[in-house]
Symmetry: none
Subunit: 237 residues, 2 copies
């Protein structure tokens, strides 16, 4: 079962390994009880007992009366815990899309310059590549926050985030952001060009389309590829 004096027993080793794994994953040390649960030691006092021994052997340092007051000083020799290796893959699956501004009905929406490639981690929206259309390039995408209730006919709420792709021309059936120069209005609509006229179809099936006779007043700002609504915060009323 356990040897007494010399060296580390099996339980000592398990505890050290667990300390390392736990710290690795959570960024702070485990409690005595957590150690016990994960090393099949049923009593807190026994864990305490082993921790005191590990401290005498200078594997750890403890702070008394401090929760999780364990500092791991050294680990077992070559037993590095390298289980995950696909980190590079996982990162490329995650795109960080810059949030470049707000979209407001009465104002032209911001469009990033064609050479923008800065990375602002504070305002970036992180999206799994699997949510986007295949082969979409990250550098063609940007995000806008919707401001106000004016996009409700596009089924887009105040506070929603729309992920846009830079395009200057729309295909039929795409949802695009449009600046209507004759009425100073930004809008999100499904775009259809039908025998010389532009039909802008709201996403809300209850709403009627807008027919525009002169395609020149329709300025395509970008194509909507994704809409995200975060419900984290509570509604007030």
């Amino acid at each position: 079962m356990a040897r007494k004096k010399s060296g580390l027993s099996q339980r000592h080793k398990r505890i050290i390994q667990f300390l390392e794994r736990f710290q690795n994953e959570f960024g702070f040390p485990p409690t005595i009880r957590e150690i016990g649960e994960n090393t099949e030691i049923s009593s807190t006092s026994v864990v305490n007992y082993y921790l005191n021994q590990l401290e005498e052997m200078h594997y750890i340092e403890r702070s008394s009366n401090v929760s999780r007051g364990i500092k791991l000083l050294r680990t077992l020799n070559g037993e590095a815990v390298q289980k995950f290796k696909q980190t590079a893959d996982a990162i490329t699956e995650l795109l960080s899309i810059p949030l470049v501004g707000n979209i407001i009905a009465g104002q032209p929406m911001p469009v990033p310059p064609s050479d923008f490639n800065y990375y602002d981690p504070d305002s970036g929206i992180e999206i799994a590549r699997s949510l986007l259309p295949p082969r979409e390039k990250a550098d063609q995408l940007y995000a806008l926050k919707v401001n106000g209730d004016s996009m409700i006919d596009a089924m887009v709420n105040d506070g929603d985030i729309v992920i846009m792709k830079k395009v200057d021309q729309a295909e039929n059936g795409e949802m695009v952001a449009i600046w209507l120069s004759d009425r100073d209005e930004t809008t999100l609509k499904y775009f259809f060009l039908e025998n010389g006229k532009v039909r802008l179809q709201p996403a809300n099936p209850l709403m009627k389309p807008i027919i525009i006779n002169d395609p020149k007043v329709v300025k395509v700002q970008g194509k909507v590829v994704l809409v995200i609504r975060q419900l984290d915060d509570l509604k007030l009323s």
Copy 2:
């Protein structure tokens, strides 16, 4: 709404620096009170307040009801904190949420069993953890696809994906999925319990609320935490 000033205040910076120094010296994170004493914040609740903000800004991760449950993700230089970790992080930033079924107005929606923890990568929706409320555990989340136009008063379209959290009770102001047993109907609404009556408020500000006198007919199926609309495919008409 988030905080209006998106940058870091002086106090945010002091806290981050202290977290770094403390972790460096002791090998575990400080308590709320220790942070307060060292950054001249007299109230624990204010420290908690700032820690929650730092978590929203993804400077730290917190574990609720865990003493010293603070993980420093990056420092003021933007450098990721390196001690042990690195690999596990990138993977845990991407959650795979099981798509368990459809939500249809006239049918009870599927709810995964309470002990489900299987991982089906085929039908999973991948979401960056940063899109979700902090501290949300992946095993409490599931995804449903909206079927039909019946949720338009919730500003949710046919084909949208809603990410739900398993709850059996709703807090005021949360958007929840509800089964109304007396009319055999599933609906997504903002929930308010007001002196014994339930008010279900549509997300669409143009729609009127439903008042329900008997709270018993309101079966809360889950809380909506995220709505995703993918526009990859073209609209037909």
